[in-house]
Amino acid sequence: MLTILQLALNGLALGAAYALVALGFVLVLNATGAVNFAQGDLVMAGGYAAAALATALPVPGLALLPIVMGAMALLGIAVSALAYFPLMRRPATAVFVSTIAIGLVLQNAALSLFGPEPRTAPPIWDSEPIRWGGLTLSHQALAVIAVAALLVCGQGWLLARTRLGRSLRATAQDREMAAALGIPIHAMVALSFALAAALAGAAGALLANQFFVTPTAGGALILKAYIAVVIGGWGSLAGAVMGALLVGLFETVVAAEVSYTAASALLYAALLLILLVRPQGLFGEAAGRRA
């Protein structure tokens, strides 16, 4: 029982970090109608940013997190300027290719700047794990869950309760109508990239402490974000979060019961079943179109 609780905690922490990746993925998807394949590499960049900042600023990871997110937001705007705006009137496939190219550039930039060695980011706060009975409660795992929950709620509040959020949603739902209403749609798209990159940066900083970061670490994350988004519902923010948590739990709780290979097979089987029974995903299709 304690083992299952331990695994569930790890799974929730992992899923919470994946949720930040998936949320960013959906934000760009909704704003542009195209998949940002550089999202995983942005997570990697966030991990390296946290690792590099930690050597210059010996403060807890929690203090570094806003700096990482700010820097990553600027990188997100740069990604939109390079990979999206020049191709915005082209078919969506052009943006797929350009974001893949940006991802490769980020990988090679990380390799040139930091070398091929795995790096680790500082913990959110540094302390011994809490031992309770046979259960080991890692502060980092708890912090990842707390920080991710805060960011997800913040994201939800921004989109639902603020004028800026309403402009973002209007841009995502109908760009022409939003433009007719005077919403600066280009600024909203750039902001979506910035928010997505900031969330990716937070995920990178959180994951890089426990699981290290290497230049090629982003590839697997984009696949997991994609699965989470398909499970949750293409374009649904809540669905992306739930899908990501499910992926995290499959990777821990289910994998501990069967094996990694069987857990992966079961996850893909669940994905196929959802696509068969409920093609719009668990939380329906909020906006955007399948690209």
């Binding site: 992992l14 091929p116 290290f212 501990a256």
Partner: protein, 372 residues
């Protein structure tokens, strides 16, 4: 760093114009992709050797990144062989890449010098391949024998990566453990994309092992050792060579490494001789990094090739004959072909004491492949 390496290549090229012999050495190694860490060590080892050629030999390196795909390695090799065949090529340590390069080496009759551990590399009846790192058959034998004969453990649990490296080593480990009467009680493959390794540790513990044996790449090795320490697994860990790499050990606190051992070809940072310490000093000064066993193996292999040039091997065929027949006392071990291109026949077991990240060599196995 890039500028420094470029300067090193140039400096090697213009070392002494008065010297008679000049050779071109293509260095075709994975500098990006899954083996970037090990490939960078391979490149650095080759470059350091080429920057210190024997007297009377002038050499320059031409470095190309082979990435992670076999076709990139093949393209790099074909490009390196045109125009003019070099006396030898430093070829990728990545198993699928060197296997794809072998037919071209045989067709163009150019020796390929590699440090790949994949057993299959020297089982292709190809007289043009020379491997300066002990094959998996050597190091995995050392790993299994250390577990059974020295630690007296008979119930190993094996966790391996589902890559060619992981599965190749796993096959040798499983066979040797069974031969030694210590059939593994648990084994599971882990994809490189898996983040949390607590599930496999949980399942392994349920099988009741008395030792945890690892055949994982660097990040997964560091992660599983950290998670094993965190969950209080309480089993000795005998890892593949990854944790012997200083860059991997640097990810963990010394106390997390306490009691962890690993097989390897060597451990340069552990010292052992003045010549080895000179190598470590030169390496640190040139590359601002700690050398690992791969760097030392490629350094030794390239030094042996340069020694062959000095002794008159001026053509690819003469080089092949020299490498096939010479014996060479390198910094890590003595190298001599077994007739199939396997030059390295020794392995070491190194262990961490929990107080530092510099391991101590505690056991050495020589001529293990001769005993098979």
């Amino acid at each position: 760093m890039i500028a420094r390496i470029a300067c090193l290549c140039l400096a090697v090229a213009i070392a002494d114009p008065a010297q008679a012999q000049e050779i071109r050495i293509p260095v075709l190694v994975p500098l990006t992709g899954i083996l970037a860490l090990e490939g960078t060590s391979q490149r650095n080892g080759a470059l350091l050797a080429i920057s210190h050629p024997p007297e009377g030999v002038r050499a320059h390196a031409e470095v190309a990144d082979t990435g992670a795909a076999p076709e990139l390695a093949v393209t790099a090799l074909e490009k390196a062989l045109d125009p003019g065949t070099p006396v030898a090529v430093v070829a990728s340590m990545f198993g699928p890449q060197i296997l794809a390069m072998l037919p071209i080496g045989a067709e163009r009759k150019v020796p390929l010098i590699t440090i790949s551990g994949s057993v299959a590399v020297t089982e292709q009846n190809n007289p043009y391949v020379f491997r300066f790192f002990p094959s998996d058959r050597v190091v995995k034998l050392a790993q299994a024998r250390y577990v059974v004969e020295t630690l007296k453990k008979t119930r190993p649990a094996i966790v391996y990566q589902t890559t060619s490296y992981g599965q190749g080593g796993m096959k040798v480990l499983e066979a040797e453990f069974t031969r030694l009467g210590a059939k593994p009680v648990f084994s599971e493959g882990v994809d490189v994309s898996v983040k949390d390794l607590l599930p496999v540790l949980t399942r392994a513990r349920q099988a009741g092992p008395d030792v945890l044996v690892l055949q994982l790449h660097a990040p997964a090795t560091a992660l599983i050792i950290r998670q094993a320490a965190g969950m209080g697994l309480g089993l000795p860990i005998v890892s593949g060579s990854a944790i012997g790499q200083p860059a991997t050990a640097a990810l963990l606190e010394p106390k997390e490494l306490a009691g962890v051992c690993a097989e390897s070809a060597s451990s340069p940072i552990s010292g052992g001789s003045p010549a080895l310490e000179t190598f470590v000093g030169d390496y640190r000064q040139t590359f601002h990094a700690e050398p690992d066993a791969y760097a030392l193996a490629q350094y030794d292999g390239t030094e042996m090739m340069l020694a062959a040039v000095k002794s008159g091997a001026a053509t690819p065929e003469a080089m092949r004959q020299a490498l096939a027949s010479m014996s060479y006392d390198g910094l890590a071990m003595t190298y001599k072909s077994d007739g199939h291109g396997n030059m390295a026949h020794s392995a070491v077991i190194l262990c961490y004491d929990g107080a530092s990240r510099v391991p101590r060599i505690i056991q050495r196995y020589d001529n293990l492949d001769a005993s098979m």
